[in-house]
């Protein structure tokens, strides 16, 4: 039996942060900013047959029976995070991005949009009226 490992494992710094990681970091802010009336969930689907990963960012209203609305999704190949495609049906945006920086630019455009603000406002009003 050989005592020498033949694996070439990349050092942590060499690995690319995935869109999932980047979106999870953003997700944390929503709950804090809305006093936990809303939260953001990141859901990752690994579609083994299609060879695709679909990462969805949802806004969830816990007091509205956990109603969830998908704000955006990021699709990429199973084995590499970039290029990936960012899509938001709410904003009618679909863009291919080649880096985390480009991804977060598009995410910023989507999350800062009037359409998303309207959805958040609507959910917050409903959630707050339930708490009144």
């Amino acid at each position: 039996m050989s005592n020498t490992s033949l694996w070439n494992i990349p050092k942590r710094a060499e690995t690319t942060r995935t869109p999932t990681t980047a979106l999870k970091e953003q997700a944390v802010f929503l709950s804090r900013q809305t006093n936990r009336l809303l939260r953001a969930d990141v859901n990752r689907l690994i579609l083994t047959h299609s060879g695709e990963v679909v990462v969805s960012l949802y806004v969830v209203a816990p007091s509205l029976n956990e109603y969830a609305v998908e704000v955006l999704e990021v699709r990429h190949n199973l084995f590499e995070s970039y290029p990936s495609v960012v899509k938001s049906s709410i904003n009618d945006i679909e863009r291919e991005v080649f880096s985390e920086e480009e991804l977060m630019d598009v995410v910023a455009t989507i999350l800062n949009s009037k359409e998303i603000a309207n959805i958040l406002g609507s959910l917050l009003s409903e959630a707050q009226s339930g708490n009144a």
Binding site: L47, H49, A61, N65, Y67, V69, E70, D92, E126
Partner: protein
């Protein structure tokens, strides 16, 4: 019995036609895609005999609009994703209810076959997740799936896994390579072609490609086996006319000028 109508109206101002069809067929749940009609105008047309409302003030979808008769307003929103609007239709008498999945899948014109397979797989996974959360599989999927019943995303084990034969669907599941997956029953197969009552499909497109079907059945309804016994097959229809208008040109293809390039589909479920 609850009556459902789905129509992709392609952004056209067809509120009067919608009102006519809803009134004529006593529709209870109206599902529209690509609706750009002002909500107040549409509700005015719908409320000729009965009060229709959107089922939720906050659960709106970019591509799919739903209206229900307010006296039967039992729809609870569960989840909205890019292609699906998922609702729980409560039933009286403490029954489990129905999982209603309204869909508008991405278009074949914009995506290749591989992407479409991926979209179907992703939708199937999301539907299964909702079924797991609710604890039942009384699921009906309806909408513009942008696929024909025979396309891979519709029939594949990894996609919707839908079949044309009720007897096969009633076996409930199939195992493939150690994975077990539920069937959907697709009654739209029975409406394909000339020998079916009504038009051969819901959408007509004369392609310049070598493979040209001309007629497509893009607007479909799928049912889990648990709902098959509550689905009267003879009530499934492709709507082609109202009391005052035809939705077809003289040639028999959908009239996109006065109506839409898609035809509406109507079906019922016993509740």
């Amino acid at each position: 019995m609850m009556t459902f109508l789905f129509w992709n109206i392609k952004g056209n101002p067809v509120q009067r036609l919608i009102g006519d069809i809803v009134e004529m067929h006593e529709v209870d749940i109206l599902i529209l895609s690509e609706c750009k009609i002002d909500e107040a105008e549409l509700i005015e047309e719908l409320n000729r005999e009965c009060h229709f409302v959107p089922p939720s003030s906050f659960a709106t979808h970019a591509k799919i609009s739903i209206y229900v008769r307010s006296c039967k307003n039992w729809l609870d929103p569960l989840r909205n994703t890019s292609d699906l609007s998922i609702w729980h239709l409560e039933e009286p008498r403490g029954n489990e209810g129905v999982l209603l999945v309204a869909a508008h899948m991405p278009s074949k014109r914009n995506y290749g076959d591989e992407d479409l397979r991926g979209f179907a797989e992703r939708s199937r996974v999301r539907i299964e997740k909702a079924e797991l959360e609710l604890g039942h599989k009384n699921t009906v999927v309806v909408g513009d799936l942008n696929m024909n019943p025979f396309d891979e995303g519709m029939v594949s084990f990894y996609g919707f896994h839908s079949v044309m034969d009720k007897r096969v669907a009633l076996r409930k599941r199939r195992v493939l390579r150690h994975e077990s997956r539920s069937f959907f029953y697709n009654p739209m197969w029975s409406l394909l072609g000339d020998e079916s009552s009504g038009p051969p499909g819901t959408f007509y497109y004369n392609s310049s490609k070598s493979r040209n079907y001309f007629w497509h059945m893009l607007d479909q309804v799928l049912l889990r086996p648990d709902l098959i016994h509550r689905f009267p097959e003879n009530e499934l229809k492709i709507i082609t006319e109202t009391p005052s208008s035809s939705l077809l040109k003289d040639s028999g293809i959908p009239n996109s000028t006065v109506a839409s390039d898609h035809l509406p589909i109507l079906f019922k479920i016993a509740m």
